[in-house]
C-alpha cells in the first residue's frame, strides 16, 4: 500500500522528477572543517540562547558555547575546537544580523569531556529528555523546533511516533542519502523515541522515489512489531507534518492544534539520528548533511559539514558557480529563504543550499489572476488561496481568515501551480502578519 493525502503538486520534469537527479546518486562527502565557524545563538524556533563564552576563550568540539535560558530554546555547541574570536551580530539566514559566536578553528578537533556514550536504559525519562535538551537537538526537518519540548509535551498524548522521511522538496537529497548510507541511526533513534514516549507504534514514512532504501530499513526493523515502514506517494508537500500524519494514519490534526492533539509526534530522519547519536556517542548537534545543488552550481553534492560553516566554503567545495547565480536559497526551492550573501553559516536546520541561474522563478511583472482554480486543487490544506489573496489584498481580514489564511502552512503549492504567477504565499504571510498585529492591538484594548 502507498500512502498519501489529497491536494499537492508534482514539481519537476518528466525526465527529472523532483529535480533530484543531480545529487540523489552522490554519496555524502565529509567536508573539511573551515578555518572559522559562525554560530548564531538562534538556530531554532524560540528564545535565543545566551553565550557562555567570551572572546579569547579556548573551546573544545562539542562544548556548549551558549546555554538555553528558556524552556523553548536550545543550547549551541562548538562544532570545532579553537578560539572564540568574536561574539557579535553576524548575518543570519533570515536576512538580519543575529548575535553569533565566531570560533577560529585550531584543526585539532579536540572532543569536549562531555562527549562520551550514555547509558540510555539506566536513565529516567526526565534525564533522557534533559540529555536531549542539552544536546541542542532541534527539528532537522526545517522547522527547528526544540525536540525536547516536542517530546515532553507529547508524553501521554501521543500514541504514534512518525519518522518523516518524505523529503518531498525538490532538489534536496540529504535525507535520502542519509537513509541509504546510515539507516541504523534513524531506526535506533526511532526505537529510543518509542521508548521515551511510551507508544506502541512507530511509523516510518518514506517517499517512493527513495525506494532503494526500503530493503535495508525493512531488514533493520524486522522482528520489531511496533515499527512499520510506510511507502509514500511522491507528492509535495508529503513531508509536511499534517499531511504526513494524514497519509499514514488517516487522522487530521485539528485546525490550530498540534500533532500531539491527533496523537502523533513527527520527527525528521536526521532528528531521530541525532537523538541516537546523542546517546550512543554523546555528541551534540555539530554536523549537518547539506545538499548543494541548483543550475548555477558547477558540481552539485551532498556534503557533511560542520554547523557554522559559511556557505561560501560549500560553494568552493562544489567547484564554484558555472554561471553568475540569480538566486541563492537556503533550504529547498519551495520553502527556502532567498539569500543575497554567501557569508551566512550552515545552521542546524539547513538541509540544502541552492543556487540558480536559469528561469526557475518565472516571475511576471503585473500578475493577474485568471481564476483558473488550480491553486485550490493544489492546496494540501484544502483552502481557497485565490480568495485568501483577494481578501488579503483588500485587507478584509475576517473574510481572509474564513477562507483559510491562518490555516495556510505556506507550502507554496498554490504559487507553484499558479499560471498567472500571483505571489500568493507572500500575500498570505503579509495578511497573517496583519491579522496578528490586529489581534495584538485588540488584545491590548
Amino acid at each position: 500500500m502507498v500512502y498519501t493525502f489529497r491536494g499537492g503538486i508534482h514539481p519537476g520534469t518528466h525526465a527529472d522528477p523532483g529535480f533530484k537527479s543531480a545529487t540523489n546518486t552522490k554519496p555524502i562527502e565529509a567536508m573539511k572543517a573551515p578555518e572559522q565557524v559562525i554560530l548564531p545563538v538562534s538556530m531554532h524556533i524560540g528564545a535565543p540562547a545566551s553565550p557562555i563564552v567570551k572572546v579569547g576563550d579556548i573551546v573544545d568540539m562539542g562544548q556548549m558555547v551558549a546555554e538555553a535560558p528558556a524552556p523553548v530554546c536550545a543550547p549551541v555547541h562548538a562544532s570545532v575546537s579553537g578560539k572564540v574570536i568574536a561574539v557579535e551580530p553576524r548575518l543570519h539566514g533570515n536576512g538580519s544580523k543575529v548575535l553569533s559566536i565566531v570560533i577560529e578553528n585550531d584543526f585539532e578537533d579536540r572532543l569536549h569531556e562531555s562527549v562520551h556514550p550514555y547509558d540510555f536504559e539506566a536513565m529516567t525519562n526526565e534525564e533522557r529528555i534533559e540529555h536531549i535538551r542539552t544536546g541542542g537537538i532541534v527539528g532537522h526537518g526545517g522547522a527547528t523546533f526544540p525536540t525536547h519540548i516536542k517530546i515532553q509535551s507529547g508524553i501521554g498524548k501521543v500514541d504514534t511516533v512518525i519518522i518523516n522521511g518524505a523529503e518531498c522538496e525538490p532538489y534536496i537529497t540529504s535525507d535520502h542519502r542519509l537513509l541509504l548510507e546510515h539507516p541504523e541511526d534513524m531506526v535506533e533513534g526511532l526505537k529510543l523515541l518509542v521508548k521515551i514516549l511510551g507508544v506502541k507504534q512507530g511509523l516510518i514514512g518514506i517517499e517512493e522515489n527513495k525506494s532503494d532504501t526500503y530493503a535495508k530499513i525493512e531488514e533493520l526493523i524486522a522482528g520489531d512489531p511496533t515499527l512499520k515502514l510506510c511507502p509514500l506517494k511522491c507528492r509535495y508537500p508529503q513531508g509536511a507534518e499534517k499531511q504526513l500524519i494524514n497519509a499514514v494514519t488517516g487522522r487530521e490534526v485539528p485546525s490550530g492544534k498540534l500533532p500531539a492533539d491527533a496523537g502523533c509526534a513527527v520527527f525528521n530522519v536526521d532528528t531521530a539520528g541525532a537523538i541516537y547519536r546523542r546517546f550512543a556517542t554523546g555528541m551534540p548537534v555539530v554536523r549537518r548533511i547539506v545538499t548543494v545543488s541548483g543550475s548555477a552550481v558547477a558540481n552539485p553534492k551532498n556534503l557533511e559539514v560542520r554547523v557554522g560553516t559559511p556557505m561560501e566554503k560549500l560553494i568552493d567545495e562544489c567547484g564554484g558557480f558555472k554561471e553568475a547565480p540569480n538566486k541563492l536559497l537556503m533550504g529547498g526551492p519551495m520553502m527556502g529563504v532567498a539569500q543575497y550573501s554567501l557569508d551566512i553559516p550552515v545552521m542546524k536546520g539547513t538541509n540544502a543550499f541552492l543556487a540558480f541561474c536559469g528561469e526557475e522563478d518565472k516571475r511576471v511583472e503585473e500578475p493577474q489572476c485568471i481564476r483558473c482554480g488550480k491553486c485550490i486543487n493544489a492546496c494540501p490544506m484544502h483552502l481557497l488561496p485565490i480568495f485568501m489573496n483577494v481578501y488579503g489584498k483588500a485587507e478584509d481580514l475576517d473574510t481572509a481568515v474564513e477562507v483559510g489564511v491562518l490555516d495556510c502552512i505556506e507550502c507554496g503549492s498554490c504559487s507553484y501551480e499558479c499560471p498567472a504567477r500571483i505571489p500568493l504565499v507572500q500575500q498570505f504571510r503579509l495578511t497573517k502578519g496583519q491579522i496578528m498585529a490586529h489581534r495584538a492591538a485588540q488584545a491590548k484594548k
Binding site: G95, K97, V337, S341, R363, Q426, R429, L430, G433
Partner: protein
C-alpha cells in the same frame, strides 16, 4: 358639467386627507421613539470621509460616541479645529485646543541608500521586509515600496526619489501611515515644526556611511551647534526635542550628511560657516579683549 362627480372627488380626497392626517398625527405620538437629536447634528459637522482615523467605525460611529460622551469633541483628526468647533457648538462645550499636526517621514535615503539585492514580488514594504529584511542595506530606512502611500486615503503621501514624502498640504494627520510603516519611520508632528532629522540609522558612523550617503553618522555637529539644547545624538542618531526646537535651522547648516531638513544649500552652509567663523573670531577677540582687559585690570 357633472357636479356630482366633482363633489364625490372632493369628498373622497378630503376624507382621505383628514384620515391620514389624523392617523399620522396620532401615530407620531403613540409610536414616538426617543432619539438623541444631536447625533445627526454632530454627524452633519463631520467631514464624512469615513476614514476611521478616529478609531470608531466611520463618521457615524464617532458621532454616536461623541454624543454618548465616549469621544471628545475634537475626536476627528481629519476635520481638525474647525470641525471640532462646530461639533462643540452642537454639544455645547468648548473645543480643546487642537494643534494641527502632519505626518513626517524620517528617512532621507531613497535612491541614495544602497540596495543589497534586487527585490521582486509584492510591492509592499511589510512583505518586502520579510524577504531578506528588505531590499536596502540600511536596516532602518525607507524601502520606498509605498505601503504608506497605499494606506493614505488623502493622497498625501508619495514616493519621491525612492522614499516616501508627505505632502503637508493634504495630510490630515489621520495616522494610518504611522501604523502602516514596518520600519516605524513615520510620526505625527506639529505642522509648525520645520526642522527634522531625516534618518533613523543607529549604526556606527562608518557602517552607516557604507549603506547610505545621507545617513546620520552621529558626528554630533548639530548637537554642538544648537543654542537651545534641542538636538541630541541618542543611540547613534540625532534626535530633535520638538519642545525646545525654535526652527532656527542652524543645525541644518552644519550637518555634513545633509540629513536635517530643510536641507541647506552649499551656499548657505558656506555663509553659515563664514558667519560661525566670524563669530568665533569675534568671540575669541572678545575673550582676548576680556582677558586683556582683565589683565590690564589686574595690572592696575
Amino acid at each position: 358639467m357633472d357636479m356630482q362627480n366633482v363633489i364625490f372627488a372632493v369628498v373622497v380626497l378630503f376624507v382621505m386627507g383628514v384620515l391620514f392626517a389624523v392617523l399620522l398625527g396620532i401615530a407620531a405620538k403613540v409610536f414616538a421613539v426617543e432619539v438623541d437629536e444631536r447625533v445627526p447634528l454632530v454627524r452633519e459637522c463631520l467631514p464624512g470621509a469615513n476614514c476611521g482615523g478616529c478609531g470608531y467605525p466611520g463618521c457615524d460611529g464617532l458621532a454616536a460616541a461623541i454624543v454618548a460622551g465616549d469621544a471628545p469633541v475634537n475626536g476627528c483628526p481629519v476635520g481638525g479645529a474647525p470641525v471640532a468647533a462646530k461639533v462643540a457648538e452642537v454639544m455645547g462645550v468648548e473645543a480643546g485646543e487642537t494643534e494641527r499636526k502632519v505626518a513626517h517621514v524620517y528617512c532621507n535615503g531613497g535612491c541614495n541608500a544602497v540596495d543589497k539585492a534586487k527585490y521582486e514580488g509584492l510591492q509592499d514594504c511589510t512583505a518586502a521586509m520579510r524577504v531578506a529584511g528588505g531590499p536596502k542595506e540600511c536596516a532602518y530606512g525607507c524601502m520606498g515600496l509605498g505601503s504608506c502611500v497605499k494606506a493614505c486615503a488623502f493622497d498625501a503621501l508619495h514616493i519621491v526619489n525612492g522614499r516616501a514624502l508627505v505632502d503637508a498640504e493634504k495630510c490630515v494627520a489621520c495616522g494610518k501611515c504611522v501604523a502602516t510603516c514596518p520600519k516605524k519611520l513615520i510620526d505625527l508632528v506639529a505642522a509648525a515644526k520645520q526642522v527634522h532629522v531625516n534618518c533613523k540609522n543607529r549604526d556606527k558612523g562608518a557602517a552607516a556611511m557604507k549603506v547610505c550617503t545621507n545617513a546620520c553618522i552621529a558626528c554630533g555637529m548639530c548637537e554642538r551647534t544648537c543654542k537651545f539644547d534641542a538636538i541630541h545624538v541618542v543611540n547613534g542618531v540625532a534626535v530633535i526635542d520638538y519642545d525646545k526646537c525654535t526652527n532656527c535651522k542652524m543645525c541644518t547648516k552644519v550637518c555634513p550628511k545633509d540629513c536635517i531638513e530643510p536641507i541647506a544649500t552649499a551656499e548657505q552652509k558656506e555663509k553659515f560657516k563664514a558667519m560661525q567663523k566670524a563669530q568665533a573670531e569675534k568671540a575669541k577677540a572678545a575673550a582676548e579683549a576680556k582677558t586683556a582687559e582683565a589683565q590690564s585690570a589686574n595690572e592696575t
